[in-house]
């Protein structure tokens, strides 16, 4: 085992901002985002890929950032929970739905849920109950019992759908 491995330079974009950094190969993406880029909204709950709290989008797909090395994200475009709301503070419709449906309590697992749901609704704007459960099944929440999160996903899908049809209406 090497005592230390040489750090490598990586370049990536997170929430639209370009970064260049030196990382040790063994640094997980979660630790790099949190420690290296101070994006502490991504939470670490189990570090073995079960709880889903650390989900981030890498090139558009939701992944466990504890199960990825930072060096693997070289060249990638990422989005973390910090990238969801607009810069003026306006919440994303998924976030709004969480507020309205009481879809969070302690909020620690929530960033992972938001990212996973974001990916789901981007790829499948009106997902079936089965598709929703398939995705949420990979995210653990100990507070809510999930019922309010299910309601929030349905509500968010409706909000996003309404926004899409409004913007698709000619003259709107």
């Amino acid at each position: 085992m090497p005592e230390v491995a040489a750090a490598r330079k990586i370049r990536l974009k997170v929430n639209g901002v370009a970064h260049e950094a030196l990382v040790e190969p063994r640094t997980t993406l979660a630790d790099f985002l949190r420690g290296g880029l101070a994006l502490t909204g991504t939470h670490v709950g189990c570090e073995h890929g079960v709880c889903g709290a650390c989900a981030v989008l890498v090139d558009g797909t939701a992944v466990r950032s504890c199960l990825m090395l930072a060096v693997q994200a070289d060249g990638a475009e990422l989005m973390t929970v910090e990238g969801l709301a607009e810069s003026d503070g306006k919440l994303h419709p998924i976030q709004e739905a969480f507020v309205e449906e009481h879809g969070l309590q302690c909020g620690f697992c929530t960033p992972g849920f938001l990212i996973a749901i974001y990916e789901l609704l981007e790829s499948d704007p009106s997902p079936s109950e089965e598709a929703i459960r398939d995705v949420l099944g990979g995210q653990m929440c100990r507070c809510t019992g999930y019922q309010s999160i299910l309601r929030a996903v349905h509500s968010a899908a409706a909000k996003l759908g309404a926004a899409r049809s409004a913007s698709a209406t000619p003259g709107a």
Partner: protein
């Protein structure tokens, strides 16, 4: 829970990957999707000197059909397989096995080759590969070779891959006309590793008797288990609940030494395997009958 130090290379071709592996003095590990290796690294249960990341070998990400077979690159994600219309229509058993793997967020990263090489006895893919008589293409310092799925899985977490070999492709035949199939498993929670599962394929002959039955069990032994006695018991027989039950019993008796852990004793696993065979056969025969009707 942080990985021990390791050197890291990210080759862009299979050849570079092979030479990185063969050039390593100590232990080298291939990193595919990382969904099994990364937890082991984080727990320091895997402690390679060198990690060879296949993530940048773009040529290993594809799903193609040729000569009645689907060829899938080892670095194709399970998510791609799941979303492939080709897979869903040409080999639905592969599709069914894929969506039982964990959750979409894991399938986004987890690869076809990674699951094969990990060879977890409770995982879906090795059983799928054996059930479909898959051929695994491997490249090493001495060139390319192919290994039959049944020979590929040697024992618990161990494959026929040599230290400097890279699994590059898996080929599975498309579903034969008239063939029925099922992929069943029982897991504590949706998405967990199975306590027991069965992949089944079967056809019905002109007289409506079972033929070509193939049964592969997983979660019950160090590698996917093929209960040949149960298969034979089915072939030539008229399908029905009694036959399925009998085949299930036979299959569970054929298991050598089922695994035992906190979720299931060996005895319980043996029993569950029989239940999975029974249910799988019923489902597969129903599909075979439907396929015959279509034809």
């Amino acid at each position: 829970m942080k990985p021990a130090p390791f050197e890291y290379v990210a080759p862009t071709t299979v050849e570079e990957a092979v030479s990185s592996l063969s050039g390593c003095d100590g232990e080298a590990k291939l990193l595919a999707g990382g969904q099994s290796l990364m937890p082991l690294l984080n727990m320091r249960l895997a402690r390679p000197d060198l990690v060879v990341d296949l993530g940048r070998v773009a040529a290993l990400d594809y799903i193609r059909e040729s000569d009645g077979r689907l060829a899938i690159g080892a670095m194709t994600s399970k998510r791609s397989v799941e979303r492939s219309g080709l897979v869903a229509s040409r080999q639905p058993l592969l599709h069914a096995a894929t969506v039982l793997v964990a959750h979409p967020q894991i399938r986004n990263r987890g690869t076809v080759g990674g699951s094969m090489a990990q060879a977890d006895p409770a995982a879906e893919y090795p059983a799928m590969a054996v059930a479909l008589d898959a051929e695994l293409r491997v490249v090493g310092p001495d060139g390319e070779r192919s290994i039959n799925a049944e020979d590929f899985f040697v024992t618990y977490l161990t494959t026929a891959l040599q230290p400097a070999e890279v699994l590059t492709e898996i080929r599975v035949p498309v579903l034969a006309p008239g063939s029925g199939w099922a992929f069943t498993e029982v897991a504590r929670r949706h998405g967990d590793f199975a306590m027991a599962g069965a992949a089944v394929t079967v056809t019905l002959d002109a007289g409506g008797h079972c033929a070509d039955a193939k049964i592969v069990l997983f979660g019950v032994g160090p590698v996917p288990v093929r209960p040949r006695g149960a298969e034979q018991a089915v072939n030539g027989e008229r399908p029905g609940e009694d036959l399925y039950r009998q085949a299930g019993r036979k299959a569970s008796e054929e298991i050598d030494e089922p695994l035992s852990d906190v979720h299931a004793s060996a005895e319980y696993r043996r029993h569950l395997a029989g239940v999975m065979v029974r249910r799988g056969l019923a489902e597969a025969v129903a599909r075979a009958a439907a396929a015959r009707g279509d034809a």
